[in-house]
Point group: C2
Chain length 162, copies 2
């Protein structure tokens, strides 16, 4: 299997609670291309509860968030026609997040988070997303992602994780 | 100090990862009235990282989410002019969540999540919110919350938390 988008993130931006491979307490989601869409599979843990039997909405928002910024990065590399391991690195932060909870998302199954890039404009990428549980779309969302400013890169250092 | 909104939730709806007092793995946020606004104080943990030094956006979305549904419940009781420990219980779920990340939120300080009820209409409550870190508003959000349907109450049972 190909490396996930998140596996190309530079170390100093790989501590994100949602998608950083170096945050051992985090969700460590993995996103991939699937044709012109992006996809991430994630199985919520038993304590990720909204009301018992259903997945916590804040977790679903987190999946939309990080799969969105990952999809934005992948799309930006595609737009520049270069691989994700080429320099300079392109990494995105979330400017805004919108999530619609269409129906309760069942807990105990693997969720499919899918994304489609709507727009790439300069440093801004808009990604629409949806979450599928047991064949049914339970959540729709949209992320507006912006490229990490150069000046922020120089400020980012190794964190202390308690 | 008064009991928090979340301390009035019936046991079977107190397992939410964000606000359930019975979810030992969760965030267990606590929300209160402050005049006509609502307030919640929360200190993110060291692993709640976006990029090092800043708070994870999915956590901020989770705080907006659960402080929003808590504020919605409190507002619904106020609208009916009855205390939160009176029957029948009023408990809300999130229909939609919108979060704007205005600037990075510093990690390592206590955040103040504030809410203002914009509209109470039948079973639907709209809450606007903002997050203050070190005196500066870093996040704005809005939650549309809907009252838990009666038929769902009967389906909710004790969860198994791994």
């Amino acid at each position: 299997m190909d490396k996930a988008f998140q596996d190309y993130y530079p170390d100093q931006t790989s501590y994100c609670y949602g998608c950083g491979r170096l945050n051992e307490h985090g969700l460590q989601i993995k996103s991939y291309w699937d044709g012109d869409e992006t996809v991430c599979l994630f199985t919520p843990r038993p304590h990720h509860i909204a009301v018992p039997g259903y997945v916590y909405g804040g977790l679903l928002a987190s999946l939309i968030d990080c799969h969105g910024t990952g999809s934005a990065a992948a799309a930006a590399y595609r737009t520049e026609s270069r691989p994700m391991d080429s320099a300079p690195p392109l990494r995105f932060l979330t400017a805004s997040l919108h999530v619609e909870y269409l129906k309760p998302t069942p807990l105990g199954v693997t969720l499919e988070i899918r994304g489609r890039v709507k727009d790439v404009k300069g440093r801004k990428v808009v990604v629409e997303e949806w979450i599928v549980a047991e064949g049914s779309v339970t959540v729709r969302g949209e992320v507006i992602a912006v490229q990490v400013p150069e000046k922020l890169w120089s400020e980012i250092t190794q964190p202390e994780i308690g």
